[in-house]
Symmetry: C2
Subunit: 521 residues, 2 copies
């Protein structure tokens, strides 16, 4: 992967004509072209000799690199501020070395060496964090390594009777599907970062995929987990569910590398679907569409994919490079997808409910167009940034009764904060994950870049965070906490819960070397 | 409730004729009649004056009692060893006082007072623990109180749009259903302890009800939770699901009063069902029946209730006082229940699958008989104990592929350990909770009592625990850890996970007064 361009370089897209004129309307003028990777200056690698020797002892010399490109490729994640800084040639917080262990035991050995030598460790799988999850605090450490799990990319076990599979943390999304397809199985986890992200990252950040209505969130798929920490190993998952104390799997899930390195995960898998049917529906308003989604989430039947764009997102369809998502004559577009075997009965039942609730069927075209393009949308960010636009996303979740107020509050906060800076913004929103008791909201923001676009976004994001907390919603539904959400996260769970997490961290990571500054300050 | 008789005294049952002759066959001769409650001797209440004054300050004098009957009613829980000791007049570990706070703030004040004065606190809701969850270590403390939450039994909020309800911890099962039915809603949580247990206990012990296939486990119902600890309050649940760090709700669920006192819980609720249809099915073998349950759990549609008795349980039908459960000509009885609105479609689809997998429909009679009698089975324990039988249950869970081996291992361990003591046993088993990846196993054991029946059971239970751990299964699916499972639980999660829990406990309960010895030693 390229250090600051999304995904597979072969799939890069140009900006559609409509976007260019929309940007002109927003006042965006051509932005700075990014500094070439080879021209990015790096600080000297700071790893002291004895630390480097101990780490090399643990994994072998072939698997420790301080190569220029490797260090840059492991600098921060994929948030817009992360990319803006790298595009501007700022790699000041590059790791001193990239370390690639091959086994759980090697991970333990690296953690032990880093604890002894006060080296901060950034667990790195896909490297796709959009919340500063790979931007550790360097202060007080003798160096920083990225612990890249890419060599640990095997399928360790399949239990077709129990429908479970054990995957190593470094297995990326498409590779997991390839490995499982040989057994006629699927994980069914398709986050937008699918092409880059990996099993360990899904688990560490409580990922939710686009098919969460049908396949569940990643934290719902996990039945077993193995965690390497400086204090040793934790291995959990004696049964699908248990009353044996707290569910500690759910303490490891979402721990974002701050409490240990997840080295493998046992997940619930499903038979690979025989059929995939996607449809578009139009609702007269976001409220009407949300009511329809709620009805399906609460009373069923639940499609595999269920999404609803608000009026602004439906009109712009920025998320679709091809413009085929049914944008146009107002209303709100919903995508309804069914996967499995013999889906026609469920499809018919869902249709009846949606018709009954005011939905207008748009046929398979918008659905299939969404499915085709669903991993392509983020590729637009790079040409948008080059065209002088600031584009970023954020997300939250709440209970159904609070959803309309939350959407309004966040939209107003973002619009207001950016207008106040002289850069009026387009704010688009969709529901992409539904539960019986509530749903997520995902916002996309586009406006003209100011000279200091990182500070510009920081201000808008702070306003959105305040609106989210003011509405009593969660600061993140599936992106995670990282460093960007840390302060708001602490408010959300309260000081005693933060102390609880700190005490856990002290136990598993007495030297505090694991992803310092991520999750906890 | 009576201190050592199950449930509502008005519903006490006599032993059916068949049971009496079966007991004779097992060598049971009439056991000792229990000591009358008024004749049970109690140690002097040990609460020091200043501690008592501080606690009285917190809740008012009307809500602190060292009354003889109140203390006995709060002595231990409802396991057979607990009852045997109380029946024999042993109330040596009665609490020194029973304290009934009325608000969350009063709970905080009591915890603060007890921390200052080194008084152990046993959070007490329904008092139905069957794993020694109410039997605290007294050593090192100046006294022990039972913190009875019975006054906190209100419905605090209902959100019909989001389908959530906030219930105080002291609300018992039937009262919760009454409160919710006024809003046309149900919780759908019906553990066998339903008549006695309460919301706080469901949460603290990760309860699973008999309708878990349809309504989920209690830990799956909880979206919000408020915990009082000596260090302050933790309030969790900003959204149905979140990626904001570890899911700390799942750290509180299953904490069994050792990490705090749950004072209220926000749960997902459902519309009260319009229809309830229960059926019996017979399968030629446990394996055939288990395969059918697995098919429904993995591919759907999932009934609301789904249970399968093994050959021994089917033949004996000890669980059914009326003997109407279709016991007789061999095979294994399954109970299949559907609740909701318009259940006929699902019922028909399930029937087709069960027929296809070798099930023989027995019609509604065995199903309705099970539904009628489902809370009555435990009432048999009292007359069985009086008739000289030792009767107890235990449960576990594992993944589907391991289920047959686990059932054999546990059955053999129990049978062997009791035969070795000269008391051949009947060991009955059923599946009562299913998941995509596995299921629970519930064992009922009956044999003749030896003079020291507590020691006799301890030996059998140790053999069962070893078999469960040997098979890699969990030590408890829905009864909890308490003091009885503590050692095996520590083996199951491993020493580092135990250290993690200890560090959490130190943070929320620095004086270690919360349910000492429960969950953690």
């Amino acid at each position: 992967m390229h250090p600051y361009l999304w995904g597979d370089p072969a799939q890069a897209v140009a900006l559609p004509e409509a976007a260019t004129s929309a940007l002109a309307h927003l006042g965006a003028t051509a932005g700075a072209e990014p500094v070439a990777v080879s021209d990015i200056a790096l600080p000297e690698p700071a790893l002291p000799g004895p630390a480097r020797a101990a780490i090399t002892d643990a994994v072998g010399a072939d698997h420790v690199s301080s190569d220029h490109d490797a260090r840059i490729a492991h600098t921060r994640g994929w948030s817009t501020p992360d990319l803006l800084r790298l595009r501007a040639g700022d790699a000041t917080d590059a790791p001193d070395a990239v370390v690639c262990p091959g086994t759980h035991e090697e991970v333990l050995a690296v953690l032990s060496a880093c604890s002894r030598h006060r080296i901060a460790v950034v667990p790195f799988c896909g490297g796709t964090s959009v919340v500063g999850g790979l931007n550790p605090a360097r202060d007080g450490f003798a160096g920083v390594i990225a612990l890249d799990l890419r060599r640990m990319d095997g399928l360790l076990a399949v239990d077709p009777v129990s429908r479970t599979a054990t995957l190593q943390a470094g297995v990326r999304g498409p590779h997991a599907e390839r490995l499982l397809s040989e057994h006629g199985l699927t994980l069914g986890h398709f986050p937008q970062s699918y092409e880059g992200a990996s099993i360990g990252g899904y688990a560490a950040a409580r990922s939710a995929g686009q098919s969460s209505a049908g396949y569940g969130r990643f934290d719902e798929m996990v039945v077993g987990i193995v965690l390497a920490t400086p204090s040793g190993t934790v291995e959990l998952g004696s049964a699908p569910m248990s009353a044996a104390g707290p569910d500690l799997r759910q303490l490891v899930l979402g721990s974002e590398g701050a409490l240990g390195v997840i080295t493998s995960v046992t997940v619930r898998v499903r038979p690979a679907p025989e059929q995939r049917v996607y449809e578009g529906w139009r609702f007269p308003s976001f409220e009407a569409g949300a009511a329809a989604l709620r009805r399906l989430a609460q009373d069923g039947p639940l499609p595999t994919v269920l999404r609803l764009s608000d009026e602004a997102e439906t009109a712009v369809n920025l998320a679709d490079p091809g413009g085929a998502l049914g944008g146009g004559p107002g209303g709100c577009l919903a995508i309804v997808g069914h996967e499995g075997s013999a889906v026609s009965g469920r499809q018919a039942a869902v249709r009846e409910i949606l018709l009954d609730l005011g939905g207008e069927p748009l046929g398979p075209e918008p659905g299939e167009a969404w499915r085709e393009g669903r991993f392509r949308a983020p590729y637009l960010r790079d040409p948008l940034l080059s065209a002088g636009a600031l584009v970023e996303t954020l997300e939250t979740a709440t209970f159904w009764s609070n959803l309309p107020a939350l959407r309004t509050a966040v939209t107003d906060a973002l619009t207001g904060a950016l207008a106040a800076q002289g850069t009026p913004a387009l704010v688009l929103c969709h529901i992409s994950h539904v539960y019986e008791t509530g749903a997520s909201l995902y916002f996309t923001v586009v406006c003209a870049q100011k000279p200091d676009a990182v500070a510009q976004w920081r201000e808008a994001k702070a306003a959105a965070n305040a609106a989210i907390r003011g509405a009593g919603a969660t600061i993140t539904h599936h992106h995670g906490v990282g460093t960007d959400h840390r302060a708001t996260y602490a408010e959300e769970i309260g000081p005693l819960a933060v102390d609880v997490l700190r005490s856990v961290k002290r136990t598993v990571d007495p030297a505090g070397v694991l992803n310092p500054g991520v999750l906890l300050s």
